[in-house]
Every structure is written in C-alpha cells, then in structure tokens.
C-alpha cells in the first residue's frame, strides 16, 4: 500500500473511532462536543453502533477493517489495489444507502419497514465523522485506481477528478434531480398525473395574448430573453468595435462604463430606472410639470424589464465581442483590401462573417442571463410574470406550492439547457479566433463610414444614459427621499452603517452590519474555494485524457446554465433533511456560491492553461515532481492572471448574487443582497441605495487588493516554441 493510502486509512479510522458521526447542533466549527464526546449527539460511529442502537453503522466499520489485511502488500500489487478499489466503492455505497434509507423519522421509504421490520432509532444529518470517513473511502478508491496506472498513475490528479465528480454529483445533480421529481410531489406521495398537469398548465403555455387575453409565463420569459439578447448583442458589438477599432479619446472611460455594471448588485439598475421614470421618478415628474404628460406605470412590466436587463447585460456582450473583434486577424482584411474590396465590402464580406460565431455566442449568453435574472424582475415585473420570479412566489408567497415551483423550475431549466446546448454545439468545434502564435503585424481595415456613424449614435447616448443612471443612484443615497424631498442627508448611511460607542466598547448599531459581515465572510471563504476548484478542474480538463472527459467537462459547465432560482429552490428541497442537512447554515451559502461560480474559474483557467506548453509540466513530472508539486511550482506561477480573474469573479458574484440566495439565506445568516431587497419591499430606497453604494466601493477596493496581492506573472516572453 502506498504511504498516502495508509494515511487515508488512518484518517478513516480516526473518523469512525473519535469524531462525532452526526452533525452537531452548533455547527461544524463549535467544539462544545468535546466535553460530552460519548453522548448520543456527539458520539463517533463505533459508539453510535454499539451503545445507541444504530446497528446499520456496523458495516462501515467492517468495510474499513478489510484494508488492514493488505497493509503490508507493496504498492501496485493486484490484490492490494483491488481491495482498495472495492473497499472505497463499497464504503461509499453503504454510507449513501443507509443515509438515504434512514432519516429523521426512521425508515425514509414506505416499503422498507415491511421488508426489514420497524426501526427503533433514527438519524440526523451527517457530521465531521461521516465527512472524513466518506473522504477516506473516496481516496482509498482513487489510490487503488492510481496504483493500477489510471491517469498515468498520478494519485493527486485522480483524487481531484474523484473529488470534483463526487461533489458535483452531491451539490448539482442530486438537488436538480430532486426538483425534477418534486414536480410530481403531492401532499400524500408522488403522482405522475399531478406532474403532468403542472407541466402542461395553461399558466405556462397559453398563447392567449394573440387573441387579446393573457399569455403563459413561458412565452413571456422567452420574448423578454429574445429582445434583451438582441439589444445587448447589438450594443455590445458596437462598444467592442468602438473600443478595438476606432481611435476614441476616452477608451479607458469607456471600459469603466462597460465594466461598472458587473460589480453592481443586480437590482440597482432596476431601482435607478424606477427613480428616473417610475410614477414619481424625476423624468416622469418633469414631463408632467413641463408638458402635462400624466405619470403612468408603463415602466412596470415588459418595457421596464427589457430596458433594465439591457443596461445590466450589455457589459457581458461587450466582453465577449471585444475578444472576438480583437481576434480577427488583420491580414485577412488586408488580403481583402488587396483584392480591391472597398471598406464597406471588407466589413460585410470579411469582418462581419468572421464575427458571426461570436455574435451567436453573445446572443445565447444574453438569453441565459435574461432567463436567470431575478433582481430586475423582482423590482420591475409588475404584472408581466417571468419564470424566475414565479418560481420564487410559488414557494415563499401565500401560494406555498412546492410542486408548482418545481414544475416552473423544470420549464426554466429546460429553456436554459436548450440554449446552453445550442451554444455548446455552435461553438464546440469552431475556432472563432484567428490569433496564431506567429506575429501578425498587419493593420485592421478602417470601418466604413456608415458603420462608424451607427456606432457613435448608439454608444454615446448609451454612455450618457449609464452616467445618468449611476448619477441617480449616488444622488438617491444622499437625499432624504428621492423624488419627494431632495434635502442633503447622510442619514441613510448612518442608519445602515452607524457605529456608536456603547458601554462594552464599539457598537455596530447600523442595521446593515450583520448581513454585511455575513456577506463578507461567505464571499471571502467562497471566492478562494471557487478559484481553487475551478483551476483544478481546468488543469484536469486541459492536461489529462481519460474516458468520459467530454461528459465531465459538460457537467462542470452545466451549473453555469442552471438559473439561480432553480438552484436555490433545489437546495432548499435537497438539504433540508438528512443525510446532508445544511439549510440555515453559512455552509450552504458557501457551497452554493462555489458550485454556481466555478465555471467562470474553469473558463479562465482553461484559457490560461491552453497558452502554456504542455511540455513544461511534463518536464516537471520527469524531474521527480508529482502532480501537486508541478501544479505548485510550475503551473500556478504561470497562470497568475487567471487566478486573479477567478478570485475577483468569485468575490463579485458571491457579493452580488441574489437569485439563489433568496431561497437559502435566513434571518440568522442574511446576506447583503437579500437584505437590500427587504429594504426595497418597504420602499426604503435611500437605505437600499446607500447599502448598494457601500457594496460597490468595497468590491472595487477588494479587486485592487487582490491585484496587488497576487500580482502579475513576470515573464520575459514565452519560451515555448509553438
């Protein structure tokens, strides 16, 4: 047996002999259990089985005893490795089986008592002991496989793959599968009929609006997504051309404008739109006063949402398109020019066709973003229902109909996956960048005059509009009541972030502090985990070959396509009950952030690793460094920019995430975005704005901090000849 396998075996024994097997009341990081380590709450597996009547735990101990028989066999011995593989698989299988079969009320499945008799005892969620024992089984399994030469015999890499597969199964597949099943859940069991009725409900599919009645949620969601995807793609492309192809004096300012919305919490844009053109908004009031146009509620509904989403998601389209536009090799345009093409002809026959896959990508991403958006609809939807908020209201409102929520979630999930698959299929085998390793010293063709004019006429008003929107937000934070009382005040900030000195020292008297600290804590834990996980997966994807790699890649990217509301709902359904009972803890928030945002880390890592010659890590491997040492000494120093990107994105997404959080945040562990939405529901615009402004400032500071801390890679030039 290898040394690592022995360590994992020892860890398994520690887990079942010493650590509390079940989750503790006070959470994972409390240590009160040490005082009462043999009680029913805190006892380890061996004691639970012998003294507390949980006989179904004995097999775990028995399985873990088997490797002791092959302790002394040399590494690579067929019997020894076979035992490790078998023990790992059997241990995990039994842990899952007993975990799901026996829950809070004894047997979980109605047919089990008939089969195995009644049960005296019951069990709660798994704790430290179970966690470590599970890890021990998983890594004994991979040790066995590695010793047989799987994945070039690299234990570390195989362990990473196994860990990712196991955690993705637990935190993405299992909850989503529960949502699918949940669509058929009724008060007394499951029913295919209920499932069918909910799925074909006219609320969702009705095409009544063609005849003047109301349309179903599906069509409304789809229409909004199509419109938003179109506008964001057009605007994003215009900005990209402006930034990459035209000598525009305020390039840096332009980039800032395009990127600002990314660090803006999701509802802020919607809120600003209300402040401007809502019933009591500044523009509306002005129009009423100056031209006698009566205030209406037109902004609540389709037009308002389309407007706000376009504002929110144009930056993403811009980021995609700027890469595409810069990727077009100038020599292609030069070739067209030497073949006597006019600027207009070059643009329409060379530049635009080369951008086409990028345009499709931006369009599909725009649709995904619109499907998943929760922040803008929650403030602006009015009577125009879209799926993401319908799911929320079906669960938390007076309806309280989890079955309907699940059915709506299935529809939304299907829409998002269809777009995701279309995007993957469209871009899968297509390389739409033409950047080669060779220097390309040519000049891009100048754009035709009509196109230039079009770009100016779309982008410049847009920049002005963005400026007005953000100006309104800042203005709203410093006045008593925006729209009514415009006297200057710092009251909102004091109310939110006041600090006073009490008898016991400083008192965080502001209402926002608690959620702010929780947000910081979860974001600061989640962001590094997101980065580490994403980059590890990227390393496996780029550098390793194994059966099922395509499926592995698809699965890891999938969680990106699943809308946040679906994830939130699924987490509530999956992790409220044993064996994994983490609802109401900060752990569930962190897990949610890590698995939702990981794909961004993966993409950044894949892009960075693809530029690094594989022979660099291979040479490290032949120079006696294993997978982990190679990662630490060669790969990580070379992909620092990707690490920065993953960290920044992890932080920003964790701090601005709303759609999944509304389901899983609790009053005990509330998050900033959720708190702000609460303020908005009380029409406390000033407080909401003040809090948002503080969040934006903190995020900007942290981004700068990460940049300084992790730093740039210092290379003369790439040495590897392509």
């Amino acid at each position: 047996m290898s040394r690592t396998a022995r360590y994992w075996l020892a860890a398994g024994w520690i887990a079942i002999l010493l650590l509390p097997w079940y989750a503790l009341e006070d959470g994972l990081f409390a240590f009160g259990w040490l005082a009462q380590a043999w009680s029913e709450d805190a006892a380890p597996l061996a004691v639970q089985a012998s003294r507390h009547g949980r006989a179904w735990l004995w097999p775990i101990l028995a399985i873990l005893a088997v490797p002791l028989l092959v302790w002394r066999r040399p590494k690579g011995d067929m019997l020894g490795t076979g035992v490790l593989i078998g023990v790992g698989a059997a241990g995990i299988a039994w842990m899952l089986l007993q975990g799901f079969a026996i829950g809070l009320r004894g047997w979980s499945w109605p047919w089990l008592p008939a089969l195995a008799g009644d049960l005296e005892s019951r069990q709660i969620g798994m704790g430290w002991g179970a966690l470590l024992a599970g890890a021990s089984f998983l890594f004994l399994f991979t040790e066995g496989l590695a010793a047989r030469g799987a994945l070039r015999g690299d234990t570390f890499i195989l362990g990473v793959v196994a860990l990712v597969v196991a955690t993705t199964a637990l935190f993405v597949f299992y909850p989503v599968a529960l949502v699918l099943v949940g669509g058929g859940k009724t008060d007394d069991g499951y029913s295919m009929i209920a499932f069918g009725e909910r799925l074909v409900s006219s609320d969702i599919w009705s095409l009544g609006c063609v005849a003047g009645a109301r349309c179903g949620t599906f069509w409304k969601t789809l229409l909004l997504a199509l419109v938003v995807a179109t506008t964001t793609t057009v605007l994003g492309t215009a900005f990209a051309l402006l930034a990459a192809r035209m000598s525009f004096r305020f390039q840096r300012l332009l980039r800032l404008f395009a990127l600002l919305p990314i660090i803006t919490p999701p509802f802020v844009v919607g809120l600003a739109v209300i402040l401007l053109v809502g019933r009591t908004g500044a523009v509306t009031t002005f129009l009423d006063w100056a031209f006698g146009i009566p205030p209406t509620r037109w902004i609540y509904g389709f037009s308002g949402m389309a407007f706000a989403q376009t504002l929110s998601f144009t930056p993403i389209a811009f980021l995609i398109m700027v890469g595409v536009v810069q990727g077009i090799s100038p020599s292609m345009e030069e070739a067209a020019q030497t073949l006597r093409a006019s600027p207009a002809r070059v643009f329409s026959t060379v530049t635009l066709p080369l951008m086409r896959p990028g345009l499709a990508n931006a369009f599909l991403i725009g649709m995904l973003e619109s499907f998943a958006d929760f922040g803008n609809p929650i403030v602006l939807a009015g009577n125009y229902d879209v799926l993401s908020i319908q799911i929320y209201f079906a669960l938390v409102g007076s309806q309280n109909d989890p079955g309907r929520a699940a059915a709506l979630a299935i529809v939304l999930l299907a829409m998002a996956l269809a777009v995701f698959v279309a995007q993957a299929a469209w871009l899968g085998n297509r390389s739409y960048t033409t950047v080669a390793g060779k220097g390309d010293s040519g000049l891009h063709a100048s754009l035709p005059r009509a196109v230039r004019a079009g770009i100016y006429w779309t982008t410049l008003p847009w920049v002005a509009l963005t400026a007005v929107i953000y100006g309104t937000v800042i203005f709203g934070g410093f006045v008593a009541n925006v729209g009514r009382d415009h006297s200057f005040t710092l009251g909102h900030f004091v109310e939110m972030f006041g600090v006073s000195s009490g008898p016991g020292g400083l008192v965080w008297s502001g209402g926002a502090w608690k959620s702010f600290f929780t947000t910081m804590e979860t974001a600061l834990i989640a962001a590094p985990l997101t980065a580490v996980f994403g980059l590890l997966i990227a390393y496996v994807l780029v550098r390793q070959r194994f059966a099922g790699k395509g499926a592995f890649e698809f699965v890891t990217m999938l969680s990106f396509a699943i809308p946040g509301t679906v994830i939130g709902l699924s987490y509530v359904m999956a992790f409220n009950t044993p064996p994994v009972e983490i609802t109401g803890t900060t752990i569930i928030l962190i897990v949610c952030f890590v698995f939702r945002d990981m794909p961004v880390g993966i993409r950044a890592g894949v892009a960075a690793l693809s530029q690094i010659d594989p022979s660099l890590d291979e040479s490290s491997l032949t120079l006696r460094h294993g997978g982990f040492a190679t990662l630490r000494r060669v790969i990580i120093p070379l992909i620092r920019p990707a690490i920065v990107a993953a960290l920044v994105f992890g932080l920003v997404r964790a701090m601005t995430s709303l759609s999944a959080v509304v389901f899983i945040a609790t009053t005990r562990h509330n998050l900033a975005t959720n708190y702000i939405v609460g303020r908005l529901e009380f029409a406390d615009y000033g407080g909401a704005i003040a809090y948002s402004a503080v969040l934006i400032a903190v995020m900007a500071l942290m981004i700068v901090g990460i940049q300084l801390l992790v730093g740039e890679r210092r290379l003369g030039r790439r040495v590897a000849a392509a």
Binding site: R152, T155, S615, L616, E618, L621
Partner: protein, 354 residues
Amino acid sequence: MKKAAAVAFESVSRRFGNVLAVDAVTFRVEPGTLCTLLGPSGCGKTTTLRMIAGLELPSAGRILIGDRDVSRLSAAERDVTMVFQSYALFPHMNVIENVGYGLAVGNLSREEQRARAEEGLRKVGLAGYGTRKPSELSGGQQQRVAVARAMVLEPQVLLFDEPLSNLDAKLRRSMRADIRALQREHEITAVYVTHDQEEALAVSDKVVVMREGRIAQEGTPSDLYERPADRFVADFIGGANLLDAEIVAVDGLFATARVGAATVERVPQHGLKPGPATLAIRPTAMRLSPAVAGAAGLVARVLGVTYLGGHFEIVLGSDQGELLAIVEATTVPPATGAAVRIDFAPHGMALVPR
C-alpha cells in the same frame, strides 16, 4: 554514470481510443548506449519514448528499467529524465533554478543542490549563465540548459525528444556531436527520438526504425544502411530507387539478380530465396553513360537536371518509373531528353522483399 540501466520493452502496446499507436513492440537498449527511435511522423516513436518517461502508461505489455518493472509507475516515480523538443525551460525561473529544479526533491542540502547544478551547467559549457532568464539565451544555449537540467539528476535513462528540431542546420550538427560526446563520456543510457535519418545515423549505437506502431527494423547504423530489411527501410534511410528484380542465385549473404535486361552480382540480402524481389539502389550508386543502341543493360531518359553545387541531381524516366541519380559536379551531366544507360556501383545496393 554508474546508475545507467538497460531499458527493455516486452510486447508493449498503447491504444488511444480506437487507434493503436504502438503495437506489441519489443526491444532492448543496453546500459550506457544511445538508441535512436526513427520513423516518419505518426509512427509511434514519440509515444514509445513517453512510455519510457512515464508520461504515457502502456495499455498492455511490460516496461523494464534495469531489473525493475516500471509499467505502472508515474513519471515522478521513475528515475528517468527527458530533454524536450521545445526545451520546456520554466520561464519564471532563472537558469540555475531550472537546472536545480529536480534536485530540490530529495535530501540534498541547499549548498549541495547549488553545487551540483553549477557543475551541470559547467559540463554543458554554460558556467556563469546561472542568473540569466531562459528568454535571454539563444536557442542553442537553451538547449544546453535543458540537457544540463536532465543530466544533473544522473538518471538511469536520459531521453531526447527531437531535441535539435528547433535549431538551424549548422547548430544542429555541432549540438548532436556534443550530445553524443556527453553521452559517451558519462556512459549514459540514452533514448533519442528523431525523424531525421542522417541525425539517427550520426549519433546512435543502435537505431530502431518504426512504422505504423511497429518496429520495421533494428540494428546498428551500418546494418540499416547496407542491409535494409524491406522497401520502407531502404527508402527511409538514405533514400533509394526501388526496382523490380528477379533473384537468380543466392550465395550466403549475397545474391545475383536480374533487373530488366541487366544483371547485378554480389548484392547484399537478408534470407531471400530465388524469385521476385526489389533491388534498392542509392542514388549515388547509379552510374550513367550514353546509351548505345542494341547493347544489353538498363536504359532511361533524362527528365531533369538540377545543379546543387557539389553534385547534380538527375531525374530519370525508365520503364520502372522515375529514378534519381546523383553524380559529381566534376563530370559533365547528360542533357535533358538524352537517353542514358544505367550501371550500378558495387556498393550502395541491397535486395529486399517485394
């Protein structure tokens, strides 16, 4: 090097999906010798090399280094180092850090690591370059750093993956002499991959010619050049004109054969029997003279003549297809369109199976 070990492949295969990249290959490299894996691209030579390194594991068969079965060991667990085609110097480390990289694993003190690394640099003639970045070195110097980095670990086997293909022709010649000298001086077991037959002949104790995942022939450079086993090896090493021939008599390692109207005697061959065969003739072994009507012999027409400084390359059209002849530039070449008679010099011919 004291640790130099033999490498043995015992019917080793490597499969990628449905493609059999290496197909039941068996060969042996003696300790302290340099063996070259030679073949066109896609023949499996690089996969074979990577299996020695542990960067690929075999799908079937056993690999032995010394007396130890390493088939299932990862690269880091084997005592093998490699010089990569792209050099693979770590761009974020300077030269001495690169050379000392592999020494950091193990129980050498820091001073000892440093001393060993500097000794390695001195051996390749780069003493004093330690603090430079790889990007500040020329291609040849980078190549030397890569060799030093692989050598300082005193591995059981040292691998070279087309190490010279990124260098210009002149540098290639001197680098290959240097590599061979280092290998001989320190009695390293080395395995060297190349697609350049001239390079293979120049540096090797033994050459293994591969084709489509199998070994086409193995032997010393002169074995391969003088006694190719088949048409592929005859053509791949040194380039040969392949003519249909008929063996009329066999005498030990030699045979007499008829090519069209001509008869050639004492041609080296490998266990062939009288009957149809292929005669491989080096372009330099072709002797041309003006054709005389009615005389016996092989006749061809001159299709083109290219002047290459030291010699002429002459393309001939015959009833056996196109042939290439190389003649010294001191003679007057035949004119394009002229009919010539072909005779064969006594050396530079071999009979191989058809």
